[in-house]
Symmetry: C2
Subunit: 327 residues, 2 copies
């Protein structure tokens, strides 16, 4: 029977060190970490709870991947390079096959992202995963939510809505062929944090965030912090071939209010269009222009976001983002 300490040492200690490794890693009261010269640390934390963020019995390897991926996505949205992470987990029991698969999925992404596990905590309890992730970035080049300016283009990386399409298929909100469900499910279970794109956009783009709770809700965070509005073309929102084959209402719901996308939504001046396209091409991530940041008067009685169709005609939209306290 493994105890808490042998569990950490068997599944969550690595002995290889990268040149950028932390000064002191797993096993002391604290890890010691410094940003590289000229940079500051970027820090984010996310908690994933069974039955809320993932299904009971979810594939452990995919869960290991996703637990880290959703955190790395926050670094990407800041333009930061991944450095390290801590992992706290509550487990109902010690299941060695589960731990082996979970740590495999976690480390596969950690290793190729240059992200070292530097500390953690394990305890008994309802399955809960909490990662805090550390990157570094030049403070003046960080992609902040408050930096959007009227006239900026609004861009989206990759495609939106496949994770929500899969969720709806699993919940039988809509029918999907087994092949389409399998494809969409890969987007839900194996999101790819856009670290290279985020780093390439640092110093080029103005504001950025990652779309985790749905575009409609998340883009508001940029607009509110930047005191701006937006005009967004619903027909321009990038979607996969399988989503583009669904009925229009499903397409709209999945792209606008889906959640679990982990794509970047960012703004950049019109003069930076070529640079943005070059950043996307260099990282092999499609980037799509979907709208414009507008001036917004908080005293005026108007919507912060004007949604339009491809002809520029306004479309009323009642969809909104995901709130973790709605049932």
């Amino acid at each position: 029977m493994l105890n808490e300490f042998s569990l950490i040492s068997r599944y969550f200690s690595r002995h290889e060190k990268s040149p950028d490794a932390a000064i002191l890693g797993v096993g002391d009261d604290c890890a010691l970490l410094a940003p590289r010269p000229g940079r500051v640390l970027a820090i984010s934390t996310d908690m994933l709870v069974e039955d809320r963020h993932f299904f009971a019995g979810a594939d452990a390897r995919a869960l290991g991947h996703k637990t880290l991926a959703v955190n790395l996505s926050d670094l990407a949205a800041m333009g930061a390079a991944a450095r390290a992470f801590t992992l706290a987990l509550a487990l109902p029991s010690i299941d060695e096959a589960w731990l082996e698969a979970f740590s495999d999925g976690l480390y596969a992404l950690a290793d190729r992202s240059g992200c070292e596990l530097i500390g953690g905590d394990t305890t008994k309890g309802p399955l809960t995963l909490c990662v805090t992730v550390f990157g570094d970035v030049e403070a003046t080049r960080a992609l902040r939510r408050d930096a959007a300016a009227p006239g900026d283009d609004i861009w989206i990386s990759g495609t939106l809505g496949d994770a929500r399409l899969a969720l709806g298929g699993l919940r039988e909100e809509w029918p999907l062929t087994p092949e389409d469900l399998a494809t969409a499910r890969r987007a839900m279970d194996w999101p790819e944090p856009r670290l290279a794109l985020g780093a390439a956009l640092a110093g080029v783009a103005h504001a950025a965030l990652d779309i985790s709770d749905g575009l409609a809700g998340d883009v508001l965070h940029i607009l509110e912090r930047s005191n701006a509005g937006a005009r967004i073309d619903l027909d321009a929102l990038p979607r996969s071939a399988i989503l583009a084959n669904q009925p229009a209402m499903i397409q709209r719901q999945c792209t606008v209010a889906g959640g679990d996308d982990y794509e970047l939504c960012f703004t950049a001046p019109v003069t930076a269009r070529d640079a943005v396209l070059a950043a996307g091409a260099s990282c092999r991530v499609p980037v799509t222009r979907v709208g414009t940041i507008t001036a917004f008067d908080t005293r005026a009685d108007e919507a912060r976001i004007v949604w339009t169709d491809g002809d520029g005609k306004p479309v009323p939209l009642a969809l909104r983002g995901f709130d973790h306290f709605d049932d």
Copy 2:
């Protein structure tokens, strides 16, 4: 009804900034934080789960205090100064009175420790609290677990065992008067992280850790990482007046294998005795010498820790520390 975002903004956003504040705090994808010049960041994470680390229905104000205190205690054990923390919490529902009391307890300690909330995550789920805490320290003065040397004195701050005494009283493992239970319970519910003492010991002491799972188990972490053994005088272990009035077996169990103490156990060369006593006096925290670090040969068939009574006579001891996966 509060949603996730108004909850964060109502209970977990502060607008005052200290001179040492983070470059960017709550509300972006990441916080931005840098250690002060010449220092590195010290990082630790702890997860607290209802019914495991605290009773269901525990006083929310005390829980807010303790959630941060156990993390700050890890900074103290490293000799680091507190800078910032992130908080991820899963809540079964939004209970405004609970949140108000919890955040009051949390901020009271955060404010007097100079520790700023820089990010977090809230979700629905079984009550679970995960804090990651950030301090800074000069790398060469950090109190590492691997730095104990044979001949070092072993010291303990404060007193040990009151939290375990309270737990035993609540579980009716032993009888306690209502007054003694109330006193012991304060130690359990309101542990005081030894930040000032830890900082005063940086550069003076060799190795240190904080005692969270019981002295017997925790001191082994120092000994294993330092390739050393220890000789510890059971009768010298500091204890409160109420614990000193209990039967000898209860005193021993509580001081040696109690847990939840959050006192520092540290080693220092004999030549540093005056400096250690001065550090304790300057912080108004008692420090007690309880033993000696010894050379240890892993090939020899001997115990790593020799426990003795006050006359130096070995005492056999089967007690051990707390393992979170034992029931």
